[in-house]
């Protein structure tokens, strides 16, 4: 140290300190760990089969071809159907939209009622609901089969929508309840003095303040339902299998040559929706928080 320098202004920091090396070293290793498989998948999906047989997993494609993607989307065979993943994609979309919509609508009203309108037995109701989140799915698989059969929904799209809606309830209700509880109670009281009722307060006061939590709930539900395999394979028929189940059937088919490039492309296609949701709503999420953070 040079004693001639008197400390003044911002304290100088060393860039190559031991802590920094540890920090960035760990970050780089972890990033590689996650990025490398993705890289291999993208690269392989753009190669033709002859090039794959050369065995250089990490080398970039010599000749880029989108044929595997086209095949995965519209030509790959599962059982007797040879119209690719597109069928599964549309099935998943048809399952996803009503499930996400219904579960969020119902859970937000549940959470609002639990947070602001302390009805008799609210605590018991809430406890039971939360307990539901801890019961393993396997326990409920067969009972639900019976329930759906009795309702005449077994094997149908709406049966699966119902299952997703019900299973989303505990965690989403908890999410909304906690968010609404954090909104100052006086705001709710003021709205009551102003003559707003149950729905008036929900739609005019609570909803406009709650964009961030709706985005969070949407992310949770979209990824959860899109990635679901178990319920999809159990409660639907082959023609309406969701994309994940169809992907499994394509990748794990035992007949013929294993087309790695098609498999990779199919997997990437299936993962695309949650990925897009993360990227698109990430911004919306931040904006939502910024808008909601303004206290009255």
């Amino acid at each position: 140290m040079d004693n001639a320098i008197t400390p003044r202004g911002p304290k100088p920091r060393r860039r190559l300190s031991r802590a920094n090396i540890m920090l960035y070293g760990t970050l780089i290793v972890v990033a590689m760990y996650y990025a490398l498989p993705l890289y291999v998948m993208v690269v392989t999906s753009l190669k033709g089969m002859p090039e794959i047989r050369l065995g250089n997993v990490f080398s970039p494609p010599v000749e880029i071809t989108f044929q595997p993607w086209v095949k995965a989307w519209s030509e790959a065979c599962t059982g007797i159907n040879c119209d690719g993943l597109s069928r599964g994609f549309w099935n998943s979309v048809q399952i996803l939209i009503p499930s996400v919509f219904l579960s969020i609508v119902i859970a937000s009203i549940n959470g609002y009622a639990l947070a602001n309108w302390r009805f008799k037995g609210a605590d018991v109701f809430f406890t039971i609901l939360i307990l539901g989140a801890f019961i393993p799915y396997q326990v409920m698989l067969y009972p639900i089969v019976i329930i759906l059969r009795e309702m005449g929904l077994y094997g149908s799209l709406w049966g699966l929508v119902l299952v997703h809606t019900v299973f989303g309830m505990p965690i989403l209700t908890l999410l909304f309840r906690n968010y609404f509880t954090a909104i100052p109670e006086e705001l709710f009281k003021a709205a009551r003095v102003d003559g707003a009722g149950f729905w008036g307060i929900y739609f005019r006061i609570m909803l406009p303040m709650s964009l961030p939590i709706f985005v969070v709930a949407m992310i949770l539900q979209v990824t959860g339902i899109w990635n679901d395999f178990l319920f999809g394979v159990i409660y639907t028929r082959p023609e309406i299998y969701p994309m994940t189940v169809q992907l499994n059937n394509i990748v794990n088919s035992v007949q013929g040559v294993k087309e790695y490039n098609v498999n990779m492309a199919a997997t990437l296609l299936t993962g695309l929706v949650p990925l897009i949701i993360y990227f698109a709503s990430g911004k919306l999420f931040v904006r939502g928080i910024a808008a909601g953070a303004v206290k009255g």
Binding site: K189, V193, D194, A196, M209, K295
Partner: protein
Amino acid sequence: MTSVLVKDLTLKFGAVTVLDNLNIDIPEGEFLVLLGASGCGKSTLLNCIAGLLDPTDGEIHINDRNVTWEEPSGRGIGMVFQSYALYPQMTVEGNLSFGLKNARMPKAEIKERVDRAAEILQIEPLLHRKPAALSGGQRQRVAIGRALVRDVDVFLFDEPLSNLDAKLRADLRVEIKRLHHNLQNTMIYVTHDQVEAMTLADRIAIMKGGIIQQLDSPTEIYNRPRNKYVAGFIGSPEINFFEGRIENGVFATTGERFSLEGYEFQNNGHEGSAWLGIRPEHIVSGDAAKDLPVSARVTIDIVEPMGSDTLAWATLAGVPLRIRMDGQAAVSSGDEIHIGFDPSRASLFDKTSEERV
């Protein structure tokens, strides 16, 4: 005419009794302040009157109508909250008109009322702003405006100035007083600030443990507190208490005997253990003290100059004594001075019941 009548009101949360058989009769146009330390039930009482809490027992009448089972919006009240509770996503105009829209009032009348309230509170330039773009004082004005547009007979204030800084609080306090003067509505105002209570109130209700300790005009409460709690709660710096006995018109305490000549007893000839309370501002110092019925010599321990007045600490009869002196008084610690007080300005409380005697 009675504006708000609270009859045998009791509220229990499980085993905890928050309000205990309360009765208040508030005449039309009165400014009533509910004053007490936190947890005394004053805000709970206000919420019951507003209809935001269901009482366990009792009735609430507003304008000679039993509104005990009525919704808050149907009671003819407007309420102002401590945290302003403005709807953040609406403009000031939206905040003011929300209640009127809920009542399905014609658009023209809504506009007229909003404009009038904005004019009274001088918030016209702010009508199209969101609450986030307002200062604390402006927000509280809007909150008052929201009660104003409803054109109600009873205003309820729940510690409306507690979130504001000292200067703004003093300004808005005067404004609320002016508002009451102009509107002549019944107002019920909850606060823990005794200055607000003393300056605003026609009558003050001092609450403790869900019971009203004293309901009187500010001067009566200040000069003739009904019990020891009220005497200690009102007044800053705090009243001085001496523990002793009343014997033959003399108050005897450790090493001192105070004459009680001129003290107005509730019933004559009270004897026995008691507390004597004398306010710091009623203690006279200097030569004038020598002629008073009670006088003594004390040594000043500490002096706290506050500009407008000076608070001196001494010891008398074994207990610390606060003396409020003129702001220009030339005293310093170690000085020995003459002090005295007129027993007619003191308050005597029974030792066990702590009631005024």
